[in-house]
Amino acid sequence: MITENFRILEVNLTTGRSAIRNVPGVETVLGGSGLAAKLHMEYSRPGLAWDDPSQPLVFAIGPLTGFFPLMSKTVCAFTSPLHGQYAESHAGARSALALRFAGIDALVIIGKAERPTVLHLGANVIEFMEAGYLWGKDALTTGKLLRRILKGSGHRTIMRIGPAGENKSAMACINVDTYRHFGRLGGGGVMGAKNLKAIAVEGNGSCELPQGKEYSALFADIFRKLTDTDMMRKYHNLGTASNLEALNELKALPWRNLQATSDPGIVGITGERFADDTLLRNAACSGCPVGCIHIGFVREKFHKDNQYLYRQVGYDYEPIFATGSMLGLTHAPDVLTVMDEVEKAGLDVMSGGVALAWATEALEKGVVTREQTGIDLRFGDAQGYMRAVHMLGGAVNDFWRTLAGGTMAAAARYGGGDFACVLGQEMAGYATGEVFYVAQGLGLRHSHLDTGAYTYDQSKAPKDVDKALAFLLEDERERVILTSMVSCLFARKVYDPETLRQCLTVLGGQALADGLDQAAARIQKLRWQARAAGGYDPMNVRIPKRFLEVETWKGRTDPQYLEELRLAYAGAIREMCGQD
């Protein structure tokens, strides 16, 4: 049920003390993205380094979490090790419902534990566990051990880091349960800096529901739309991996550090290929009947006497682009094997894959040497990449430590910035055109999720700066409502504004329903202000030369259009930040 105030749990790792706070603002910031930005602005210290113990790590859910299907994500907010500014990352699995059933709208972690620690929470528990024995363990092993140590199987979430997070890498993710991640912008590094190996949240409480039949009827209605119609078919059928073939066809799939946008090798890594040859089964986030999580398997002969082992690896479009086409790997099992190593290291798969692609080209071009990397890297060489993942996650020497701070940080030191595929952060897998390059380059999360710019590029829209800018701003505003709820973005067709209003109303949130549009505009600005508080200036963002060389089905990137759109978007962002 929707209440007037948020219930926030604040945990201080330095003092070992916790507090439950009632924070007003449900009507103005809704939850999720809005709440995360609000809390980050309240807690963070923009003048201090990202790894200062006082900096917060926030996990926020939304007003509909658990009450409706696919309201299944959590927003994680922190000061990014990559750029020292506000960052937001989203993940599902059981995280959102676990927080709901633990009875809180957001968890704010401040301070730094003296020694490696596991934070264990629930509706009636807050405890810190000594976890020195887990430090150094990979993310999968950590999950397995904690499952054994803590009770509550299936009804809790375990968020943890691997070696990359311990090493405070700007590419370290937070692994959530199995196969889901707070991937981008280095949330895992923030946990590492806090000596926080894992957070386990037990969903052992329960919540009240509205009286009367209206709520159950609305639930059933939405549930039917999600399961009985074709609206979600794309996601549970081949999953997002179906995009690989389509983008390759369009000449928009990055290959070998974006030296090409299409390659016949696609036949080995299409969505169909993964489904036919490697798909073991599907899984779902808690509260989501769609089940878009695709779990592939690889078997590996480790002894000549037919002795095999097998690995299970969750795959999606983005991981296949990052550890597949971007690295020139064209054999599905190879891709899964590299992905599995990335999972264990606790690296963000997109950042990691793009960084390795840059390192490969840098080595080829003599920008860095074999002595510096300590290893040979060649496009298409899976074995080499498996080793490289460990070197990157483990920050084993000067080169890998620098690269762990971001591809651009490495390019600044060694050169090779022209072919660094960095748009704010390492690129997502859409070489679709100018609108996407600008959107990711400047966008709030520097990701493909802030707006559907990659779809806009594909829509054959004319090169019209005003139209493209209007699209970027409006699409972001619409998405902000969903990310404040916090819905899975795959459900955006089902949860149109009218449906969301009905959902809020039935839970007693009439005022929220009435003020949804105003809230969206306010939250859109609030997030940019949170970003600007850390010193963000969109005018300073540059699009590397490689993106000007890209050839898509539309031809070469148009430098003039790119530049005009960049300036227009930067101006609009500055306005939202209140800088003009």
Binding site: G66, G154, T178, L209, A283, C288, P289, V290, G291
Partner: protein, 134 residues
């Protein structure tokens, strides 16, 4: 007499739609645990899922253990529940051999009454309401 059977759990994707439906429709709350059926991962997502629910014992040890008649033997196996008679002693949960009765923090027991409300919310047809034989 119908029985709920989790007959195709190999297909389960762990969405919890079934247990959330039971909580919502039968027990009028939002919960993972206060439900007649509960879905557990059997060792992380990588080993699939199992369902914990009433196996329609006849005689039912939980009913035999209940001192107030809150849980009564149901004809054909399983139990009927009268929440008003419950004193939250927890004897039923302790007596269930397969841990199918959950207790909330107040000690209220939750057990499957084989109504089938969960069945239509399973997207993969893992569950079935089966007519008892004989």
């Amino acid at each position: 007499m119908k029985h709920l059977v989790a007959s195709r759990m190999e297909r389960c994707i762990g969405c919890h739609s079934c247990s959330l439906a039971c909580a919502r429709l039968v027990h009028k709350c939002l919960s993972w645990e206060n439900a007649g059926i509960r879905i557990l991962s059997s060792g992380g997502l990588s080993t699939g899922f199992t369902a914990k629910l009433c196996l329609v014992c006849d005689p039912a040890p939980c009913a035999a253990a209940c001192p107030t008649g809150s849980l009564k033997q149901r004809k054909g196996g399983g139990v009927t529940q009268n929440k008003k008679l419950c004193i939250q002693c927890g004897k039923c949960a302790a007596a269930c051999p397969v841990d199918a009765i959950a207790q909330d923090r107040q000690g209220n027991p939750y057990v499957c009454i084989h109504c089938g409300s969960c069945v239509e919310f399973c997207p993969h047809d893992c569950l079935e309401l089966r007519e008892a034989e004989g």
